[in-house]
Each structure stands twice: as C-alpha cells, then as structure tokens.
C-alpha cells in the first residue's frame, strides 16, 4: 500500500524502519524529491498515527512536506502533491489539512485522483464550518466523535467519524481532549490500509461502500433543473396588494418609497392605530393582505385585536413572533441542494459586522439606493425581514447551520439567480456577525458569515464596527476575512457602541448611539490604527463608500 501523506513533513528520525518513506518538499516554488527538516510536528504526528494503526506489512509512505516558511498553506502546493501522488500511483492520499476557500482546480485534481482509484481522506474543519478538500463530494471527510462505540461510523455518504478516547488525558481531575480531526484522518488512513491492502485489483470505492456504506457521488445535485422558484412571500406579493406593519416602529422613517415593491401600498401608523397609503398618507383599507415585518431581536405578540378588526384579510408575520411563525414563506437555505460549487460570475459585495445593531441595514439600503439610481440591476440577499419591502431575497435565519451543505446551498441559489436573472452584481447583508463577541452565542455569531465567504468569491467586504472597537481585535477579524481570500475590505464605523451591560446577553448584544464628539475621536483612532479604508456613516450616506466600491470593481 502506498500512502501519500500531504502535510508538514515527516521527521526522518522517527521513521525507524517502520516502513519505506520517500520525501518530497517544496523548493523554490516546486515540489521536488528532497528531504527538508520539518519545522512543524503535525506531519510527523500524522505519520505515527498511520503506521501505528495498520498491520499492513508492505507500507510505503510518500511524504509531501508542503509547509511554507511562514506556515501558510497554498492551494497550489496541495494540488501539486495530489498530482504527484497520482503519478506515483498512491492507493490512499491523506490530507490532514484544509482551506476554507473553494478551489475548482483542487476539486478537479481530487476528481482525477478518484478516477485513478485513489481514495482521498481529509480532515473535517476544526471549527465545524467548512474545509476543502474534506468537504468535496469526491473526498472522504473524517471527524471525531468521542461518544460513538463503532470503530468507524459513516455519517451521510461521504463523512466518517471515529472515537479517539485514548487521547483524552486526565490530570488533577481535569480532562483534556487532545484529539483532532487531523489525527482522526491519519488513524482512519491506517485502518483503511488494512481494509484495502487485501484487494489490490478491486475498485476501492466498491469495497468501502460494501464495508462502510461510504458512497461518494450519491449526491443530490444530479437534478439539472436550472429554474429559480420565487419564495412564497414573493409569489404572494406578486398577486396581492399588501399593507405593512413595521417593527421597530421607527423603521418607517428609513423606508425609501421610490424602491418599494409595487404591491406594497400601505403602512401601519402606530400612533393613529390605522393603515395609511404610501402614496398619499391617507387612511386606507384598500389592500388585500397585511404583512407584519419585525426586524427586532425580541418576539412580538400577534395582536388579537388587529386579527379581529381585519378578519377578512390574510395576515402574515415575518421575523420574531410569539406563537406565530410565517417565516416559512421566506427562502430557506435547505431548499437549494447541491454538492458541488458552481462558478459565480457577477461581482459580490458582502456586508457583515462585528456584532448586532451596527447599521448593516442602513449601509445596505444606502448602497441599494445608489446602485439603483445608477441603473444597476442588483440582486440583494438578506436575513432582515424588512428586505421584503424592496423585493430582496430574504432567507430565514436558520436554527441550525449544517456545514458543508449550507455553503453548497448558498452557492446554488446564487448560481441559479445568475442563470435566471438579468443582473449586474450581488449585495449581501449577512445575518449575525463575523465572529464571536462573548462565549454565549457561537451559533449566531460568525458561522453564517463563514458559509457565505466559502460559497462565493467575495469581491468587496464591508465590515461594520462598533465605535469603541479595539484595533487589535479588529485586525483579528480582518485576518479572518483575508483568510477567505477577500481582497478588498472596507470598514464602516457605526455610530453605535456596545452597551456594556448587555455583554452577557445570550440572544444578541444591544447597542446605543454615541455622541458626535466620541464618534469623531473613534473615527480618528481607527483611521490611525488600521490600514484599511475607514468610512463614516456620513460618508456612506453621501455615497463615498459606493463610489469607492465601484472604483474597486471596475
């Protein structure tokens, strides 16, 4: 059995005649057969994990040391190593490394390996998001599940998990779990050596299917339908004239009537307790349905009194509501199934933020206004219910994010939109935030942003930050964006800062609007301390951010 170990290199001194090892390393930008002393122990540890978990006596390891001097991982070096593995007729390729950005070239070379009867094993994301090549449909993704009793458990078609309880160390009553998907991947590689070494002439994938039910390619993208269905709320709005009730009530002040959906004709005046026409402000009941749109984080009561008074109207509640949930009328990420990434052609502008309440929607609205005034056809994605007003594509904020499916779903939706619509660019307002603010909300904060960053090549990212953000913390967040290959990042300084007394809220932080003096000093601080271009909210409103984006894209 020949195993290609694509990693950070195997230390010669630990080999001890355990098996035959050939070494390849990066030299002057090329992969050549040469031993370079590894600087990182990761590859050596994976090697030890493989050899100690197989009884295969004719084991040969091809050690690909693809670590760069700065410990960065380059996609081309993985591609070269896989290419070389094919040339060397490897049986299994072990890649306990990964990238968050999708690469078509990497996918293609994995495909070529599979066509050559090579099994590729790769470690699942350490952050439970996405990792390539592990999340390709032609690669077996390996995870750790310390609860499982089976030696190897198959999850879905392409993922396996093992338990590594031997790596749980107990010290002074505290338990430290030293396992990782990297080591799990290498261990599974060892196990599979035994399974596959006895059947050298057979299709390895058939063996894996029969023994472990691993079924690469049994994916859900076989359907070739390329039509994009409108979500239910869009369908309803195309045939019904609607009156809207907006929450928070002051959201009405920001509505741009010029770009409203043509069938949204009236709004609820909270003070008068009546509906008024958008065109003339007069009291009206000339509409077919009522839509209550709540963009707040708190749950609203669905009012019995309104229900009784407007008994004859259909009433739809979008957003957070007590005992009523019509969010199924929105798009759902799960509706778009795929297992491979399609290439997107239109430029993508993404808006994200470091926490909730930092004017993301204001930035989005300002950009929509500028773009539409310039005659650009913009496709807008958002999780904010108020986007319904402007016929945006609104996705229900999911209760659960399943990686990698969510990435494929987002990509599929965008692909279908590009195919079916005459559009110039994407403007995406990503729900949640870019990273974790406190330890309580890992789910709402960051994961959805990660999914969007992997699903689309973001051309310009706008990050809205709170006024008193610490520059070093912001730099960490920016590094996260750059890790996803986002080249141009603009910072927008929100006029809001985090209300410290809500730092320990689990459902989202609250912000408050700071005064101009503090804002100006925060703006100066940020300009001095970060390299990226920083925009004030005023500059956003005046269109300076928009001009800079257009300049970048053109």
């Amino acid at each position: 059995m020949t195993i290609a170990l694509i990693d950070t290199g195997v230390l010669k001194s630990v080999i001890n005649n355990k098996c035959e090892v050939r070494h390849f390393s990066l030299s002057e930008g090329k992969l050549v057969e040469k031993y370079i002393e590894p600087e990182n122990s990761h590859g050596t540890e994976c090697f030890e994990e493989i050899v100690s978990n197989t009884e295969c006596d004719k084991l040969q390891i091809i050690d690909f040391n693809i670590s760069e001097q700065d410990e960065n991982l380059q996609v081309w070096s993985i591609i070269s190593a896989i290419d070389k593995s094919i040339e060397e007729r490897a049986d299994i390729i072990n890649i306990s490394l990964g990238l968050t950005a999708y690469s078509q070239e990497l996918f293609d070379i994995c495909e070529a390996a599979v066509q050559n009867n090579i099994v590729i094993l790769s470690a699942a994301s350490h952050t439970n998001t996405i990792s390539f090549p592990a999340d390709f449909k032609n690669v077996i993704c390996v995870k750790v599940d310390q609860q499982q009793t089976e030696k190897i458990k198959t999850i879905g078609n392409m993922t396996v998990s093992i338990s590594m309880r031997d790596l749980i160390i107990s010290e002074k009553g505290n338990e430290f779990d030293l396992s990782s998907s990297s080591f799990a991947c290498a261990r599974v590689c060892g196990y599979l050596c035994d399974d596959l070494s006895n059947v050298p002439l057979n299709d390895k994938f058939k063996t894996l299917f029969r023994k472990y039910n691993i079924d690469l390619y049994n994916a859900d993208d076989i359907e070739c339908k390329a039509d994009l269905k409108k979500c239910e709320i869009q369908q309803i709005l195309s045939n019904n004239r609607a009156a809207v009730v907006l929450f928070p009530p002051n959201a009405f002040e920001k509505v741009n009537k010029d770009f409203l959906h043509h069938n949204i004709v009236a709004y609820y005046d909270h003070e008068q307790g009546e509906f008024c026409g958008f065109s003339d402000g007069e009291t009206t009941k000339d509409f077919d349905m009522i839509m209550v749109l709540n963009s707040s984080y708190f749950d609203l009561e669905f009012p019995k009194s309104i229900k009784e008074e407007y008994r004859q109207y259909k009433i739809i509640c979008i957003g957070n509501f007590l005992k009523k949930d019509d969010n199924n009328f929105l798009y759902h990420y799960n509706d778009f199934k795929a297992s491979e990434i399609s290439v997107l052609e239109k430029p993508v502008i993404a808006i994200t933020s470091v926490c909730s309440g930092l004017n993301k929607s204001d930035v989005q609205l300002s950009l929509i206004n500028s773009m539409r005034e310039d005659g650009l056809s913009i496709e807008v994605i958002s999780n904010n219910p108020l986007g319904v007003l402007y016929n945006n594509s609104i996705f229900n904020f999911p209760y659960e994010l399943n990686f990698p499916q969510i990435v494929y779903s987002i990509n599929k939706f965008m692909y279908l939109s590009e195919v079916n619509k005459d559009m110039d660019a994407w403007l995406i307002n990503i729900g949640g935030a870019i990273g974790q603010i406190n330890g309580l909300n890992t789910y709402n904060f960051g994961k959805l942003a990660d999914a969007y960053f992997s699903a689309a090549n973001i051309d310009v990212a706008i990050i809205c930050v709170n006024s008193y953000i610490d520059a070093s913390y912001l730099k960490l967040q920016l590094a996260h964006l750059y890790k996803h290959n986002i080249n141009e990042v603009f910072i927008v300084l929100s006029h809001n800062d985090i209300d410290a007394s809500t730092m320990d809220y689990k459902d989202g932080l609250q912000t408050y609007c700071i005064d101009d003096k503090k804002y100006d000093s925060a703006f100066e601080y940020l300009k001095k301390n970060v390299e990226e271009k920083v925009f004030s909210m005023d500059e956003v409103r005046k269109g300076t951010l928009y001009e800079r984006i257009i300049e970048t894209l053109s």
Binding site: F247, F298, K304
Partner: protein
C-alpha cells in the same frame, strides 16, 4: 502599594493588580515588602511596579446626548408602586415608620399614573430587547384591579408588544383566582419568604402580630400543584437573612421546590434595630460550604461572572466607573404612587436626589445630571481603591458611603476574588460554566 492587593486564600497567595486586572501567585509577602526581593520579582515578571503611584480616573461613561437617545428607545423596565398599603407589618420593612404614623395616609396609585408610566416605557423601548413592567407595593395584590387594568391597557393600546411582567408579593393573597390570572398573563412571581415557619413568622407578621407562614405556604403549595411547569419557570423567592447566613437557613431554602432564590442582606432600619429580638443569634462565624446548596452555589458562580469578564478583557484602561451602577432611567425605573420616577425601587424614595422625572414629563435629564454628579462626588475615594472595579456599590449606597461601608465592600471583593483565583480561574469545568452564564 497602589491599586493592588495581596490576596491570601487557604491554598495560595496572589498579588492582584487592579489597574491592569491581572494577578500572579507569590510565595510570601516578603516578595513584595522586601525591597531586594521585590526588585527580583519585578525583573522576573512582567508585573506592573505597584509601588509607583497611580489611581483610577473615575468618569461617568455616558454623555447627555447619549442618555437622551437611550430614553427615546432603550428603556427596559418600569416598576409601579401600586399601593403603599400592605397586609403585613414586617418588622424590618422600610415602610414601617409610615405605617406607625397616625397622620400618614397610605396612598394607592391612580390608574392614570400607571397608564402614563406604561406609555413612557413602551414608547421608549422600541429599540430594547427588554420591555418589562413590575408590580410592586406595599403589597401589590391589594390593588389587583389596577394590575388587571394595566394588563388590559397594554393589550389594548400596544397590541404588538408583549412586555414581560413580574410582581413582588408576600403571597398572603395569592389565592386560587389570583393565581389563575397571573398564570394566564405570564406574570412572574417573586415571593418574599424568609424560610421555614420559625424564620418566616419571627418578623413577617400582620398588624396584630399574627404569623403569616401558614397562609403563605398553603398558597405557594396550591400554586405549585396548579401548574408545576409555570411554577418552575416563573416563581422565585426573596429571602431576607435577618440573622445572616446559616447552614440551617440554607438547608431549608435549598429544599424549597425550584432553585432560584435571592438571598437579601438585611437593611437595618432604625426602627428594626430598636425593636429586634435581642435573643437573635447572628451566625457570623459559621462556616458554610456553599457547594452543598444548589441555589447558593449557582448564585456564587453568577457573582464570579464579573471577575471572569474583567480578567478576559483584552484592553485595560485606568478610566473606570466603579460598582454596579445601572444606567438611570433605563433599567430600573420605579414609579411612586404619586407618579414620581425614582432611579430604582431599592433607593430611599424620599431623598430628592434619586428622583429622575415623573410620569407627566418623562425622564428629566437635569435630574439625571444631578444624580450623576452626586454619584461622582461620592465616588471620589474610589480613585485609589484596589477593589473599585468589582465593588457592588450602586445608587442606593451613594448617600451612605463611609469608612465602614468601604471596608465591608473591600472584604467582600477580597473574599470573592480569592475564590475566583483559587476555585474558578484554574478549573476548566467551572470557568466554562461561568463563561456561559447569561445575565439578561
């Protein structure tokens, strides 16, 4: 030593730097007090030279403009004193002098005042996740009709927004029909109960001196039997520790069904100190192993959150606002029967400085300013106090800060900080629990 403290625990000795919120373990006090050893200590560690003079800059964090903006959308809570009347005459109660005064007329809140207070809250809370109405007294159930009118008013006038409600009651009137109404409207109940029969009946008595435990406990049991799920999710107890903390009391409280219990230190009113039972045995030196009592251990870990947050904070500044002050006008507004808005229900409402507005004109920024200035004045000594960041001082204390107050506050911080350093900071399981406490 400036803004620093040696913390001794049963296990270790630590040097705590309040300015940078950091600590290090030390072998002995000599490391600090002996000049040669101290020089070594500084050389071998990255610790700040705590013998160099420094002090905190005590500053109020919000400007007038910011506060005004908050009042227009960020108000979180309004507690209504529905009546000054009460069906008990608890001997430590702050209202007792009023009850004893023949000429003092115990007022009830007119519904117009209650409705105006509700208007201020709901119109000013559209950007706030919390929108809370509290019913308070005297004994609020003596004015049950007004509670019902308030709930109906909200449902009618503000059909979309459903505030959360709570009521603080002695539970004497918490009979079947009242319980039905509270359950139907999701009103959380905070029951004032001092523990088992002996404790409860000692000071929580009616005007004739009759005990209250029997009736109260009967009502609590009936409420539990009526809807155990509601009980578990919506009932908490306030326990006044008039004899201090003791194993006996904690044991009794711990066996109560439902574990959320607020243990409240006695506020010794002049009247109570004159009339209290001389045979009261204050359990000052009794050792209590908090871990034995679920409710108490949870409360303790909750109190560790501020230490966790502070040690985890990346940026440190010498500008602080000590204590646990809430933003006046936002979190704790308390409306008296005559419509004055007081900064919170715990302060002495007769002190003008705590008045921050009224239901007719809303929150008055000038009165807020007066309160903030008075507070800053009283916090002058915090500039040089190593415990200032963690002190529990709040508005209710600003008129009573003296050496004794500060000494007790520092002792408490020293005890808590010692516990954090010894028992929390190096225990992954506990630190994880503390990190995940949501303080909403």
């Amino acid at each position: 030593m400036y803004l620093s403290k040696i913390i001794k625990t049963n296990r270790e000795m630590y040097l705590f730097d309040a300015l940078n919120t950091s600590f290090t373990a030390i072998e002995s006090e000599d490391e600090i007090y002996d000049d040669i050893k101290y020089a070594d200590f500084l050389r071998n560690s990255n610790f700040r030279d705590i013998k160099q003079p420094c002090e905190f800059d005590v500053k109020y964090p919000y400007s007038e403009v910011e506060l005004k903006r908050m009042f227009s959308g960020g108000i979180k809570s309004m507690t209504l004193a529905l009546t000054e009347q009460c069906n008990l005459r608890c001997k430590y109660c702050g209202y007792t002098p009023k009850y004893l005064e023949d000429n003092y007329k115990l007022e009830s809140m007119p519904k117009e005042i209650a409705f105006k207070a509700i208007d201020i809250l709901i119109n000013g809370s559209h950007e706030s996740e919390l929108c809370h109405i509290g019913f308070y007294g005297g004994e609020p159930l003596l004015n049950l009709d007004l509670i019902k009118e308030c709930v109906a008013y909200v449902n009618d006038k503000y059909p979309f927004r459903k505030p959360s409600y709570n009521i603080t009651t002695n539970a004497v009137l918490l009979v079947d029909k009242v319980a039905d109404f509270l359950i139907e409207n999701d009103i959380q109940i905070i029951i004032s109960l001092d523990g088992p029969q002996k404790e409860q009946n000692k000071y929580r008595v009616d005007g004739k001196g009759n005990s209250s435990f029997e009736k109260v406990f009967q009502n609590i049991q009936a409420l539990y039997r009526k809807d155990p799920k509601y009980f578990r999710e919506n009932v908490t107890y306030n326990v006044v520790m008039f004899n201090g903390a003791s194993n006996e009391l904690f044991e009794a409280v711990d066996t109560l069904w439902k574990s959320d219990v607020n243990m409240i230190d006695l506020f010794p009113t002049e009247y109570f100190m004159q009339t209290r039972d001389r045979s009261d045995k204050i359990h000052k030196d009794e050792i209590i192993d908090i871990k034995n009592y679920d409710f108490a251990y949870k409360n303790l870990l909750k109190s560790m959150k501020k230490y966790y947050n502070s040690f985890c904070e990346s940026a440190c500044s010498n500008t602080i606002f000590p204590g646990g002050f809430c933003i006046p006008g936002i979190r704790k507004d308390f409306v008296t029967t005559d419509g004055r808005i007081i900064v919170c229900e715990k302060v002495d409402e007769n002190q003008e400085v705590f008045e921050i507005g009224d239901v007719y004109k809303g929150i008055d920024i000038n009165k807020i300013d007066r309160l903030v200035n008075k507070t800053l004045e009283s916090l002058e000594k915090c500039k040089s106090c190593w415990a200032a960041k963690f002190c529990k001082i709040c508005f209710k204390d600003i008129l009573n800060i003296n050496g004794d107050f500060c000494e007790k506050a520092r002792e408490e911080v020293e005890r808590e900080l010692g516990y954090y350093l010894d028992q929390v900071s190096n225990n992954r399981g506990v630190i994880n629990y503390v990190a995940n406490i949501s303080l909403i």
